[in-house]
């Protein structure tokens, strides 16, 4: 792939960039852009979704992503009930697994992805909250408001029990204000540094006095006796303000829309370009006019010319959740419930891997959330990705990933789908014999090659690249992968193993770490 040097963002016309993209002959809607959209809006696409998206076109794919699949609204109450039960056990790891299940199986991955965005925006950690139930309640709240309006959202999070505990609101009382929440609501939740003064923080803290958890510790209660009802001046407005007023005043600041749009730009579009306020203004302006309608903003970003451009493509580093779920969704295949080949996806097995890559859900490092981008990758977390890739690709990740006693059964089962070799296969060398039984078909990363009837090394690599890295890698990397597959001309079980090894290599590729 040629090294592209794009002109700076300042040279672009913001209005044009944020117009809806119309695919044409020079830039058609194809698998590259379909998988780009799924990586950003959701947690990657499996092969069927990619094919479907290519057929439906960009608008209809976006509609599907924004609305979720048919029936997802009916599924949600059941998922939440399951979450409630999981939280009651007070096992944080179980709750992480439950959320991964929602991301994978709720039928509305865009909503779950955005819930993850808000978890990072209103970053709260169980390390201080000490209650899985409160973390679950907050997660439910984030999901409820994820595609709603930001005003009611900000007010609701200001009364959320986990947040009240996290930022010491219970000790914020008349005469002895605690500034923790007042500072973070301005700095991290709504305006950003430079758009308020230290005095605004001190005054806003007084307005939030008496906003406490209730006697159960899991709900909100306003305590008028501990509330300071004197006059306060917040952002040049003076009155007997309380927390509701502070939220209102914050969202009257033009900086609020710009701040949130910038954060969503980084999440959906690019971590490498740092747009000017001017560049973001068309989005910020309509966000303000819409009374902070988040769904409309997300749709506008995800349908724009700018989103479907090289300014966005591969310009983010996948978070651990994106890396793991994306890879799993490419490898795994779901069959009908009654089919013998069907294997359940045990999301709980993924939790410790995502933890090791540095993203412990419900436990961000601090109130600013995960730093993201380059900070995701250090020696330890990179190695965790490499070793996860090995387990997933070779099929040894899953507890139930192997057929009981099924030595090479799988390879025989798929072997008949492969076109017969033109000459008799050489007797396998000892080293070609896999020492592990093949993984169950549902978890076998070599399966796709047979489904797609690819037999030459070149075709095999093409099929794999089209699934894992559509949009291309360097020609020399592709050639190198083809040579690896072809080496020694493996057949049957040895070829399947070689394909799995190739998938492992693909998942460790620097390109694959990019979203």
């Amino acid at each position: 792939m040629a090294v592209l040097t794009l002109p700076s963002l300042d040279t672009l016309d913001p209005k044009r960039e944020w117009q809806a993209w119309q695919p044409d002959a020079t830039q058609p809607w194809n698998r590259k852009w379909a998988s780009h959209l799924y990586r950003r809006a959701a947690f990657g696409a499996n092969l069927d979704e990619l094919r479907m998206a290519e057929k439906r076109g960009v608008q209809s794919t976006l509609d599907l992503l924004l609305q979720g699949e048919t029936g997802c609204d009916d599924l949600l109450p059941a998922l939440l009930t399951a979450g409630q039960y999981t939280a009651a056990s007070d096992q944080a790891a179980e709750l992480r697994g439950w959320w991964l299940y929602c991301m994978l199986r709720s039928g509305h991955p865009l909503r779950e992805k955005l819930t993850l965005f808000w978890h990072n925006h209103f970053a709260t950690s169980i390390a201080k909250v000490h209650s899985a139930l409160e973390m679950f309640q907050q997660n439910k709240l984030l999901r409820e408001h994820a595609l709603g309006r930001f005003g009611p959202f900000l007010l609701a999070i200001s009364k959320d029990a986990a947040m009240l505990h996290w930022l010491d609101s219970n000790s914020n009382i008349k005469g002895k204000p605690n500034e923790n929440y007042a500072r973070e609501i301005m700095e991290l939740f709504s305006l950003g540094v430079g758009n308020y003064t230290e005095k605004d923080i001190r005054e806003a803290a007084r307005a939030f006095t008496g906003w406490h958890t209730d006697s159960d510790g899991t709900g909100f209660e306003f305590n008028p006796r501990l509330h300071d009802d004197g006059a306060k001046t917040v952002l040049r407005q003076t009155g007997d303000w309380n927390g509701d007023d502070v939220v209102r005043i914050l969202l009257q600041q033009p900086a609020a829309a710009t701040f949130l749009v910038r954060k969503l730009y980084r999440f959906y579009v690019s971590e490498t370009y740092n747009p000017s306020d001017r560049f973001l203004e068309p989005l910020a302006e309509s966000f303000r006019k819409s009374d902070y309608d988040i769904a409309a903003l997300v749709r506008r970003i995800l349908s724009s010319r700018h989103f479907f451009s090289e300014y966005a493509f591969h310009q983010r580093i996948k978070s651990p959740v994106e890396f793991v779920l994306g890879a799993v969704r490419s490898v795994y295949r779901e069959y009908g419930a009654k089919e013998k080949r069907q294997q359940p996806l045990t999301q709980q097995d993924l939790v410790r891997h995502i933890d090791a890559m540095g993203q412990v859900l419900f436990s961000p490092p601090n109130v600013k959330g995960w730093r993201g981008a380059q900070a995701w990758l250090n020696t330890a977390t990179m190695l965790a990705r490499d070793n996860f890739a090995q387990l997933l690709a070779m099929g040894t990740l899953w507890n139930n990933g192997r057929l009981p006693g099924g030595d090479d059964i799988e390879d025989e089962a798929v072997a008949h789908e492969v076109p017969a070799p033109t000459k008799p296969a050489a007797p396998p060398r000892p080293s070609d014999r896999p020492e592990e039984p093949a993984p169950a078909q549902a978890f076998d990363s070599a399966r796709v090659v047979h489904e797609e009837r690819a037999s030459t090394a070149k075709d095999i690599v093409r099929v794999l690249l089209d699934l894992y890295l559509p949009g291309g890698v360097r020609p020399d990397a592709e050639a190198r992968l083809i040579a690896f597959v072809a080496e020694g001309n493996p057949k049957g079980a040895a070829l399947n193993r070689r394909v799995r090894e190739t998938v492992h290599a693909l998942l460790t590729m620097p390109e694959y770490q990019l979203a």
Partner: protein, 421 residues
């Protein structure tokens, strides 16, 4: 002992990297330049995350105003570890620091900060770590210093010990800093098969991560990071395997210190230094200093961990005389409000204190304690710009040009100049 040359033979020659010639990045070329072992000076930086309450760390117990501002949190004369007739350290530090203080191995630096202090954790932390109060530099002061070091300390010049994200301070070196923690075994899994098969797969993985020598974008960053990982895991695996044999728990003021506690991380640092790892700069952190409520007990224990950890580090380093080539510096992003809040805690403040420790030091109290009469909107005023401390340590201890790292010259703090290097 596992020599650098041995590492090279095993890792670099055994892989495809030698064949890559011109595209082998600079950091791998450095691997070949064996630094003289056990001679280079070493700096260990401890980040105290959350904003340490400097006023309850270095305590002006002789000042009535202190007791007025700290009615519930204040420490009395008979509680503190006394430094002189006016100042004392938090009682949690007695076990670790008393003997170091008595031997003149501890420098207590007061009134440290920078102009127009930022009271946001993240902004101020970035300011300390980038050493740029204007916030225009996106790399870390320690990361930048690697480029100026004479002996670059072999293949890992800078090492972050911890399980959290990599701090900004260590970023900005070619190929990236290495992070380790004692929970990881640092083994690159290659999925079984014969030795030849594993070798072939490893070769493929490395080639796919090879930088193309042209671009300087996000993809190139990931390539370098991946290549660095693949070329350093074997050595780290061997070293950490040895660590686990020696693994034990430590006892101190803060109770029993388990894995991933600061004292255990510093023990790991000591073991790495003793084993001739060659790293010049280590970075560790301890979180929990954002004490908005009920701070007395947890704050005392945290300081206990810091002091115990530092004492234990130097005790361990005496084995082989390594203690004399190591200095430790602590820092936090800011101090806290002078007046305690209504929750027996303290809110974000400005100037604070820090420690520099090591047998190479003369030790003592550096600077005046900031006045409790002359406050800046309720916060202590700084007298010593933190970059003066950085400059002193860079020029006089690591022997690297502080101006190249910090962008301009800063006056040295004489008391921090090592007496014997």
């Amino acid at each position: 002992m596992f020599s650098r040359r041995h590492f090279l033979t095993r890792t670099v020659q055994g892989s495809s990297l030698l064949a890559l010639g011109s595209v082998v990045p600079e950091f791998l070329a450095n691997t070949a330049r064996a630094a003289e072992k056990a001679k280079d000076t070493i700096l260990v930086v401890i980040e105290m995350t959350g904003g340490n309450d400097g006023l309850n760390t270095v305590i002006p117990y002789g000042d009535d105003l202190y007791h007025k501002y700290r009615p519930t949190l204040g420490y009395k004369k008979d509680q503190v570890m006394r430094l002189n007739d006016h100042l004392g350290l938090n009682p949690g530090m007695r076990g670790g620091f008393q003997q170091m203080w008595d031997k003149g191995q501890l420098a207590v630096v007061q009134g440290v900060g920078y102009p127009n202090p930022d009271r946001s954790h993240f902004e101020s932390m970035d300011i300390w770590q980038s050493a740029d109060p204007r916030r225009s530099i996106q790399s870390g002061w320690l990361g930048r210093s690697v480029n100026e070091l004479q002996g670059q300390g072999g293949f890992v010049p800078i090492l972050h010990v911890g399980s959290g994200r990599q701090p900004l301070a260590v970023q900005g070196t070619p190929g990236g800093a290495v992070s380790i923690n004692d929970r990881q075994n640092f083994k690159l899994e290659l999925g079984g098969g014969t030795a030849d098969q594993q070798k072939a797969r490893r070769k493929l993985l490395e080639e796919l991560a090879t930088p193309d020598g042209k671009s300087d974008d996000i993809l190139q960053f990931v390539r370098l990071r991946q290549l660095r990982t693949m070329t350093s895991v074997e050595r780290l695996h061997e070293l950490l395997a040895k660590q686990n044999l020696r693994q034990n728990t430590l006892f101190g003021e803060g109770g029993v210190y388990g894995p991933n506690s600061l004292p255990m991380q510093l023990q790991l640092v000591a073991n790495l230094i003793i084993s001739g790892f060659g790293t010049r700069i280590f970075y560790v952190s301890i979180d929990g200093f954002d004490t908005h409520a009920r701070q007395a007990d947890p704050h005392r224990k945290l300081l206990g961990q810091v002091a115990d950890g530092i004492l234990n580090l130097f005790n361990a380093l005496k084995n082989g005389g390594h203690d004399k080539r190591v200095l430790v510096m602590t820092f936090s992003e800011f101090g806290r409000r002078v007046q305690e809040n209504g929750s027996n805690g303290t809110d974000h403040g400005a100037a604070s204190s820090l420690f520099v420790a090591g047998p190479a030091l003369k030790g003592g109290i550096v600077g005046e304690h900031p006045s409790l009469k002359d406050l800046d909107s309720g916060d202590l005023k700084h007298a010593i710009d933190f970059r003066r401390i950085y400059a002193t340590l860079l020029d006089n201890w690591l022997q690297c040009d502080s101006k190249a790292v910090l962008g301009s010259k800063f006056e040295h703090v004489d008391a921090l100049k090592p007496q014997k290097a």
